[in-house]
């Protein structure tokens, strides 16, 4: 008994009480084996499912599941080896067909066998955790056929060969290939990937490497891109027809890499057909294609964007620094607007309104517009031209479009305060000469500027409009209270508030008697109603309409400047006058007088005065008389010189100087504001903060900021720290 204790009890599998004849199991298995043979030989029609099912069931029931399972595997393996030989023997084109045919047969057979062995599948296999019948069948196929050494490589090569043929233009049997790739997928994703997909991708990579090299040597950029696109579409199509969907991304990556990524630089920079050429020639289709292809690869779009940016900057720089182009400001600005429109269109049509491209374009424009220091002046002149005559007869909506475009250019300016100065000047001239096309357009632009720059920018401008309006009312009042003046010359006065209008020195001049009397009357009227104010006549800004009768009786109405009026009126009393006499009588300063006489005597078609000698310049010894032979088609002749023009060099210098002067207090105000809140700040930080604050108006010069700091220190607004020279402190 003690011996028994050491013996291990072994748990054996259940044994049925009823002992089954072992021969019974063999007999049953033979029946099933025969049936499997018949199934593989396409001879299954006579078989009874019931009977076979029952046989398999009984085997499992009586614990012969092992025998059944191993028998099934052995039988199937034997058949598959046979089939494998048949497939190997197939010649040429029929190899793939044979494989496909046998694969279909195998699937049918496997299904039937699985049905027969269903009970075993659900019980014996479940408990022994062996592979189920169907997956087992697939593995057997895989091991004995697909991975059989004679078939494995040949199959792969056949498939790759077909793909290659199709790529070179031949037609292949796509359905057949699809069945084979589907077979790979059925055998397992790793089988598909290892036995087909990876080699396929490698072969494709080689193929496209070669092809792209060929193309790039022989095609221009646009052509190459067309071909690349075509290949890409083809490959996607190929996947749809006979590859697994998961391969799509992988194959497109291959094409993208070989055809695009590897040749990116060369394509973009190609002579006479690359990006720059496309941009210059508005090749929207080519540009769009390039965009769509390049966005698929890393840094593709960045490359395109960079080339576009450098081209734009280069071109813009040439445009603004070319002296030829700067001759006519209106044309200059129009050119800028055209370029802006061009790139807008390119970005919206070909680049899908891509924000990064828009930003690149904007920064380029900003860069080169500011390379020309006269850009603010020119833009103002452009606006002036439009508001004077360019917008005549154009619908309101279109007017808005033009003004919006101008605003766009305005935003690019770094020196917005320069623009403001010029704009004020030009506006003043427009208002005073009554030469604006549309009040609404003017007001609309002011509103836009206010939205962009804030109230301070436009408050003075608005003041100018107010003055004009008020003056109308004043005039009405004046003539209302002096009815006797309705006979005789009509005086129209615009009273300008000094702060709002561009400062002009008051130029003295002797007005003709008729006029000066009226002026005095007005002065007393005005000061009567507005005590505490001072009026000074701006004779350099006025205009006059004079009726003139010439020698042969020609009657004309001349529209002239105030100075010109003074000069002309002198000839009522004298026939001939010398320069000196005119100068003395009118007291007009020499440069203005010379210009005035030039416009009266030397301009063809407007020479109401004759000059001796007939030279172009006004000399101090010249003599003048009325040109009795003066003719003109029109009754009304305009001779005024108040049109806004591009400034001459000296004038430009002057304006620039005034702008610099104006900037000083603004810089100081910014410094004080910043120091008041920060109390202590170091030099570099002050510079940075001040620049940032003033950026909406102009680009502050660090040297100038330094000077202003020094000045503020002198005036005890700030002090330097005793220990650290770079640190400043605010003094309350």
């Amino acid at each position: 008994m003690s011996n028994q204790k050491k013996r291990n009890f072994q748990i054996e599998a259940f044994k049925h009480r009823v002992v089954v004849d072992p021969k019974y199991a063999d007999k049953t298995w033979q029946i099933l084996e025969r049936a499997i043979h018949q199934i593989y030989n396409q001879d299954a029609s006579g078989l009874s499912f019931e009977e076979l099912y029952r046989n398999a069931y009984n085997m499992v029931l009586h614990k012969f599941g092992d025998k059944l399972y191993t028998g099934f595997i052995a039988t199937m393996t034997a058949h598959l080896k046979e089939k494998s030989k048949l497939i190997e023997a197939a010649q040429g084109g029929s190899f793939l067909e044979e494989l496909n045919k046998k694969w279909n047969e195998q699937n049918k057979a496997l299904e039937m066998i699985r049905d027969i062995l269903m009970y075993m599948d659900r019980t014996y296999i479940e408990s022994t955790k062996k592979p189920h019948v169907h997956p087992m069948g697939l593995s057997l196929w895989r091991d004995n056929v697909v991975h059989s050494p004679k078939i494995h490589t040949r199959l792969l090569n056949t498939l790759l060969d077909l793909v290659h043929k199709e790529r070179t233009g031949e037609v292949i049997d796509r359905g057949l290939v699809r069945n084979v790739t589907k077979m790979f997928m059925d055998l397992g994703e790793s089988v598909y990937q290892d036995d087909f997909e990876k080699p396929f991708l490698d072969a494709s990579s080689e193929f496209y490497k070669v092809e792209s090299q060929e193309f790039i040597e022989s095609c221009d950029c646009g052509d190459y891109l067309k071909r690349a696109e075509k290949r890409l579409t083809e490959e996607i199509d190929r996947v749809g027809h006979y590859l697994d969907a998961k391969s799509e991304d992988k194959i497109t990556s291959v094409v993208e890499k070989e055809m695009i990524a590897n040749h990116m630089q060369r394509l973009v920079h190609m002579e006479n057909s690359g990006l720059v050429t496309m941009l210059l020639n508005d090749k929207y289709e080519d540009l769009g294609r390039m965009y769509n292809l390049f966005r698929r690869v890393t840094n593709g779009l960045a490359t395109v964007r960079d080339v576009m940016t450098s081209h734009l900057r280069e071109m813009g720089k040439q445009l603004v620094t070319d002296p030829e182009k700067s001759k006519d400001p209106v044309e200059f600005v129009q050119r800028l607007l055209d370029e802006r429109d061009k790139y807008d269109k390119i970005i919206s049509t070909a680049f899908g309104n891509d924000k990064t491209f828009q930003n690149a374009s904007n920064s380029s424009f900003e860069y080169f517009i500011n390379l020309n220091a006269r850009s603010p002046e020119f833009i103002s002149l452009f606006v002036d031209d439009k508001l004077r005559k360019g917008l005549k007869g154009i619908a309101d909506a279109d007017v808005e479009v033009v003004l919006d475009k101008v605003m766009m250019l305005f935003r690019y300016l770094q020196e917005k305060d320069v623009f403001e100065k010029y704009y004020k000047q030009h506006l003043a001239k427009r208002l005073l000469s009554g030469k604006t096309v549309s009040d609404d357009a003017e007001k609309s632009l002011i509103v836009k500027l206010k939205t962009e720059c804030g109230y301070q920018f436009t408050s003075k401008l608005e003041g100018m409009f107010t003055d004009m309006k008020t003056s109308e009312d004043t005039m009405r009042g004046f003539y209302g209270s002096h009815p006797e003046l309705s006979e005789g010359p009509t005086l129209i006065v615009q009273v300008l508030t000094t702060g709002s209008w561009p400062t002009q020195p008051a130029v003295p001049c002797n007005l003709p008697a008729e006029v000066s009397v009226l002026c005095e009357k007005f002065r007393s009227y005005y000061l009567g109603t507005h005590t505490g104010r001072r009026l000074s006549w701006q004779t350099n800004m006025g205009t006059a309409d004079i009726k003139a009768i010439f020698g042969k009786g020609q009657k004309h109405e001349l529209n002239v400047s105030t100075f010109q009026m003074c000069v002309l009126m002198l000839f009522n009393n004298s026939d001939r006058l010398s320069y000196k006499e005119i100068e003395q009588a009118t007291e007009i300063p020499a440069p203005d007088l010379k210009r005035c006489l030039q416009s009266l005597a030397c301009v063809k078609g407007k020479n109401v005065i004759k000059k001796e000698p007939m030279s172009k310049d006004i000399g101090e010894e010249d003599l003048f008389c009325v040109n009795d032979k003066f003719t003109s088609k029109f009754y009304k002749v305009k001779i005024g010189t108040v049109v806004a023009q591009k400034e001459t060099e000296p004038e430009k210098q002057e304006t620039r100087q005034r702008v610099e002067e104006d900037r000083k207090p603004q810089i100081e105000a910014a410094i004080v504001r910043i120091m008041k809140s920060r109390k202590i700040l170091d030099h570099n930080n002050i510079i940075a903060e001040v620049t940032k604050q003033l950026q909406p108006r102009f680009l502050a010069n660090p040297t100038e900021i330094k000077k202003r700091i020094e000045s503020l220190i002198e005036r005890d607004f700030l002090e330097r720290d005793n220990t650290d020279r770079k640190l400043y402190r605010y003094l309350a």
């Binding site: 028994q4 009890f9 009480r17 029609s45 029952r54």
Partner: protein, 212 residues
């Protein structure tokens, strides 16, 4: 439990023999008429039936016939009634009477619901007299086996004294071990049962020695 369900749903169609296309015969059907049924309903209830019915090419003229040689007519009838029952139920009297063969049929033909029904019936009718028989029956699925084992284990005392048990152990040493395992596993063993355990072990050893 539904009483007379033969008047509604599928059962109605069966009774009326409306468009039947299948004949079912049991092993002793020579004395009885074949049962008329519908391929569709039977295929729906059992995967195996479905395969059986689809693998044969239908001869258009006569109805297909299926033979169930291992079943008796009454059992087959009960089975068919189950297939047609809307709620998947069997009349309890019939169930009690034919539970064994229905259980086997459910196993063989993959009718899980029926198998569960039968199993529950078998479990609930376990007694000291039939438990050992049950255990040695075949085939048993795991839930049923476990249920029987734990029943025996719970009532081990009743078994230990019976000579039936001794004979059983002699003939089925492996089953005895299974009983021991079941006994040891689920519940805390009261001291009294320790003795019983010892007795089983001793009995087993004596028996095995005897056989040897």
């Amino acid at each position: 439990m539904a009483t007379d369900v033969s008047s509604s749903g599928f059962a109605k169609i069966l009774k009326q023999k409306w468009h039947t296309d299948l004949l079912l015969k049991a092993g002793d059907s020579n004395g009885f008429a074949a049962i008329s049924a519908h391929k569709l309903v039977n295929a729906a209830r059992s995967e195996v039936f479905k395969k059986m019915l689809e693998s044969k090419a239908t001869k258009a003229s006569s109805d297909q016939t299926l033979f169930f040689s291992e079943m008796r007519h009454e059992e087959l009838e009960t089975l068919v009634k189950f297939m047609y029952n809307d709620h998947g139920l069997v009349s309890s009297s019939k169930l009690k009477k034919h539970v064994r063969s229905l259980y086997l049929a459910a196993q063989r033909y993959e009718i899980p619901h029926l198998r569960d029904l039968c199993r529950n019936e078998l479990i609930s009718s376990l007694s000291s007299s039939n438990a050992l028989d049950e255990l040695s029956q075949v085939p048993l699925d795991k839930p049923l086996t476990d249920a029987v084992l734990s029943f025996i284990a719970r009532n081990i005392n009743t078994f230990l004294d019976s000579c039936e048990f001794k004979m059983f152990v002699a003939r089925n040493p492996n089953l005895a071990v299974e009983i021991t395992k079941a006994f040891l596993n689920p519940v805390m063993i009261p001291s009294q049962s320790n003795m019983s355990l010892m007795m089983i072990m001793m009995m087993m050893m004596t028996m095995t020695t005897k056989i040897r």
